[in-house]
Amino acid sequence: MIVAEQKSLDEIKKLVGSAQKVLVVGCGTCVTVCFAGGAREAAIVAAELRMSTKLDGSPKEVTDVTVQRQCEWEYLDEIAPKLGQVDIILSLGCGVGVQAIAEHFPGTWVVPGLNTKFMGLPTEQGVWAERCAACGDCILGLTGGICPIARCSKSLLNGPCGGSLDGHCEINADISCAWQLIYDRLNSMGKLEVLMDIQPPKNWQTSRDGGPRKIVREDLRLDKKEE
């Protein structure tokens, strides 16, 4: 899932600025399950904004709504009737959700209420950890299902480095050494020979180094002439 964290109320108030009518838009997918921007959080942020601005002496009219997925335009259509009644949208979606709203409603000012952090999973109640860096050329088949791109601080392809100490990373003892994890897993599965292949430098063009990415599936397009 995409994991995000809420911005502070002070920052949200600065982003909202002088707008009087605010629509807080939650998202029912990733940010709901990481407790950052679902229906409950949208209602709480709306209540906080109403009370805080009332205490400041300039009460705002704040309402909230949550769509199933902010990152698909079709789901955003349900908030279209409300746009004429608001000055600004405070999106509690990830960065994709904020941009989807901006693209779908060009005349509407939208600001983010979350900081989008990473793609990861909950490792225990209340703890989320990064697992994928979306490098665009998955090598998990070479590393026992543990990603050194996302989980090694140096994204090494042939690790570990000299900073690995007792299974931990040199930059922070709370971070497990990804390459130690990879070694331990391959060892436990009797597949250490996988590590005998030295990995050549990775082509990072499939990652962000190649610029913004896009996938076109001609078999799924409705109008193939359309660009």
């Binding site: 409950r40 209602a43 709480i44 209540a47 906080e48 109403r50 009370m51």
Partner: protein, 65 residues
Amino acid sequence: MSEDLQVVAFCCQHCAYAAADLAGGLRLQYPPSVRVVMLPCTGKIDALLVLQAFESGADGVMVAG
């Protein structure tokens, strides 16, 4: 406690609300500004419910369960 202060008391029906009932049976007094809201379980309480009470004008919220 000042009677001007509005307090919302969220009470569990199995314990605190029953205790309030018993207090009534014993003719014990509490300020009329305390508004008791019975809940099936105070596990139902979350931040949103407390915020709604404050937004509606409560000066204080008590959770008893």
